[in-house]
Amino acid sequence: MSRDDGFEELKTLFAEDLAEKIKALQAAVTDSDWNAISKISHQIGGTAKSFGYPEISAMAHELERSAQKISLEDAAELVKKISGMFVL
């Protein structure tokens, strides 16, 4: 396996993980669970840019920072944007 294959494999894992985290984030918004919103967006923000998704990182950081200071509707809108930016 070449070095690049190793990174491609990681990217696949990242994509699967992100898809799951976005679902969890949507569920957290539905449940009004601000702790989960903050935690999951923190994790997404800390990873996405490394794999070529700087906008998702930025948006997730925005969501983390604004957690509990914005309405659930606005949080849901941010999650929708994050989800829309992620295309496999």
Binding site: F7, F14, K39, H42, G46, T47, A48, S50, F51
Partner: protein, 121 residues
Amino acid sequence: MRDILVVDDNAINRQLAVYLLKKGGYNVFEADSGKQVFEFLTDHSPDVILLDIQLPEIDGIEVLKRIRENISTKEIKVIALTAYTMRGDKERFEAAGFDGYLPKPIEPKTFANQILEIYNS
């Protein structure tokens, strides 16, 4: 610098860090919790520990505190690796006793060099 322990409960980030550091020629070990760090340190002495702050149960700052309290581990270089990038965070981590601070997301192209620079500083 040869042996590095990467501590992160986020499996993707941890695997990315491990991948990049192995590619850089280092011996890399992994842990996903403070408990695993303490177990690892009972019979290992890495040159550097990359320590995530947001860990379950025992957070990174408490893990660092215990590393510094133990005579056999207190000299290990410990670098904070975290997505906490708000104003004042860098100072907070330095005050806690970290030897350096790397904000997430990891920048693949420069990651290994950033660690080496902190280690040599």
